[in-house]
Amino acid sequence: MRGANEGLAPANYKDPLIEAFKKGVDVTLIRENLRLTVDQRFQQLMKLQEVAEELRRAGRKARLQK
């Protein structure tokens, strides 16, 4: 039986397209996150969701007031 990962490139494979996208990655944010515990990363994610929701609400309100 073929394994589910058979034929897949290794995780560190340098795909030219992905390498181009890497130029847009903010490594400073990654470094900050790697200093956090997994629990803290989820706490941050949930705070980020709250902020995103608040921004969406503000946008909706502004559109209605136009």
């Binding site: 394994g3 589910a4 990962n5 897949l8 490139a9 290794p10 995780a11 560190n12 795909d15 397209l17 992905i18 390498e19 996208f21 890497k22 847009g24 990655v25 903010d26 490594v27 944010l29 990654i30 470094r31 900050e32 996150n33 790697l34 956090l36 997994v38 629990d39 990363r41 989820f42 994610l45 949930m46 980020l48 969701q49 709250e50 995103a52 929701e53």
Partner: protein, 159 residues
Amino acid sequence: MTDFKALLRLLTENQVEFIIVGGAAATVHGSARLTLDLDIVYRRSDDNISRLVNSLSSIQPYLRGAPPGLPFEWSTRTLKMGLNFPLITSFGALDLLGEIVGGGSYEELLPETIKVEIAGVDCRCLNLERLIQVKRAAGRPKDLEVVAELQSILEERGE
């Protein structure tokens, strides 16, 4: 908003066998990207499907994006007849996946997971290397940026 911690606690306390994949798995590994749903690959054994159905019944699971009023029976029968279920619950968005592209089933993915503690409970999460592979295998344009970030994390970790 999705309460990731409450969902993970609920599943774990009910002994559901699952693996965190997708954006939440990327968060585990240090991704700074915003994800709005919890994606899990669940074990498709009869016992586990029963535990999954029982655990989520209290949080009103319903098919996400389905037209209002569409009949949806949350039961072991429904889960056995389908494979992947994008759900909305009172704890937020939860995607139940029987299999994932480039990864396969729960049993196939299990050897490539790590144990992580989130909200005081131990969960299984796809390891970074495998997550990169399945994201690449998914082949969606939106995953290109994700793979770029995950590979950058791999490089930061010196692997």
